[in-house]
Symmetry: C2
Subunit: 263 residues, 2 copies
């Protein structure tokens, strides 16, 4: 026993994602890194990589493909066009449709550059191992995500607000949740905001902008982490002509053990 999770579990999870039906990936293939995805025409790649560099909390870039490639070093046998459960196709900053197979959309632009971005699902296993319940997993829902009032630092033609994910945590475990997630800065790291949702411009926690609402119990505090859906907020605000992304909560599962990101 190596102590590392079984790589076959990551491959099996990707196969399930490829074959459907589409479901959020939180809790799938525990121990493996999950990623947000955004594919943009080559002409927009510089602006996006710079946007990510300038906003590392919401946009930690873990891999970038060569133009036109649908392969990643993070899962050599995967096909980025099919192995995410649900994709979004964007035209001029508007969500045009959601598809479970992006092969046809990919073929429209032979020079797409694909960015894989860290996802907070990656530190949910350590939270659970510490005995901290992850509510949306316990309730078998997608994680709640909110568009905040915080501007990201712009880059070239890209600008937009930060998106956050939220997990309710008992008040006496919040510090531990902050420290556990803080050990993995490449997958969003420590929370950006704890409590006081109005400070982020969030009026009603029961009405997330993406994903599902979850129960918040007495004595629990909403804890907010920077979220890899932030690039989709930039698409809506900045309107590049074309993009493919994952659907929020429907992530790309890699072969990289989540322990790889611990500092």
């Amino acid at each position: 026993m190596s102590g590392l999770p079984d790589p076959q579990a990551a491959r099996a999870a990707r196969l399930a994602c490829r074959q459907g039906p589409a479901r959020p990936t939180s809790g799938m293939a525990p121990g493996f890194t999950q990623c947000n995805m955004i594919s943009l025409p080559r002409d927009w790649a510089w602006d996006f990589l710079l946007y990510a560099q300038r906003n590392p909390k919401p946009c930690p870039v873990l891999d970038v493909t060569d133009p036109g490639s649908h392969r990643t070093a993070m899962a050599p046998d995967a096909d980025l066009r099919t192995d995410i459960p649900l994709y979004r196709i964007w035209r001029d900053g508007v969500l045009a449709k959601e598809v479970s197979d992006a092969t046809a959309a990919w073929a429209e632009h032979p020079d797409l550059v694909t960015f894989l971005i860290g996802c907070s699902f990656t530190f949910e296993t350590p939270l659970q191992q510490a005995g901290i319940e992850v509510r949306h997993i316990a309730q078998d829902r997608n994680v709640p995500m909110y568009l905040t009032n915080r501007d990201c630092r712009p880059a070239g033609r890209l600008h937009g607000k930060m998106v956050v994910s939220m997990r309710p945590i008992p008040a006496d475990r919040v510090a531990e949740a902050a420290m556990i997630s803080g050990r993995t800065p490449a997958v969003h790291g420590a929370p950006v905001h704890i409590g006081a949702p109005e400070g982020l411009g969030i009026a009603d926690l029961q009405k997330p902008d993406f994903g599902d609402a979850v129960e918040i119990r007495a004595g629990e505090v909403p804890v907010f982490w920077a979220c890899g859906v932030t690039p989709q907020a930039a698409l809506m605000a900045s309107r590049p002509p074309f993009a493919i992304t994952h659907a929020p909560g429907y992530m790309f599962i890699t072969d990289i053990p989540e322990t790889h990101w611990q500092v």
Copy 2:
């Protein structure tokens, strides 16, 4: 007293760097982040930013300027053309000359994109505060740096070996030095190699490829950190037509407290 270092100290240090004489910046403006610098024509900027993303230990990018700009958000009153003590001008991958003022070189290419990259000098203050002597500071020398046999992951036209800096540490403090530096992954983080220099292809520690040799005492172990001179090794190997960099050990001093990078 805020507990933060006095910002005036960073400005005064930059002014001293601007006016000369040129000296290595290790130990200057303690508590402030120091940076490596590389400026490349716009046409090479994508390849470089991707190279940095693929090699985050040696090339943690802390800021990127707009094309042609010599300003950085990390020190708003600074001029990147003059505020480094010693610059290197590169032509076709060959070091053409060293200058203390790069204004004329900058004017040759109006579209230069400048990258500021984390520097291990940033965690030397915490090492010293823990009572770990930083030998090259104690000996008033430049830090020793070595070209290793480790390939970086290539990106576009850029490829090259990793460069490391070395500090001799008493055997009973090595773990602590690893942990202290590991808390700041944005400025190279934990060591990449501890002891056994032959494993990096280093034949003689007393003959560094950059900087100065330092004394290694009985009971001390050479500890190697990924180094922001790695981009210069990529220049030599990949031969872009033009580049401006800092001279190894002669860094750009920013206004950002080094505690900013702690996770």
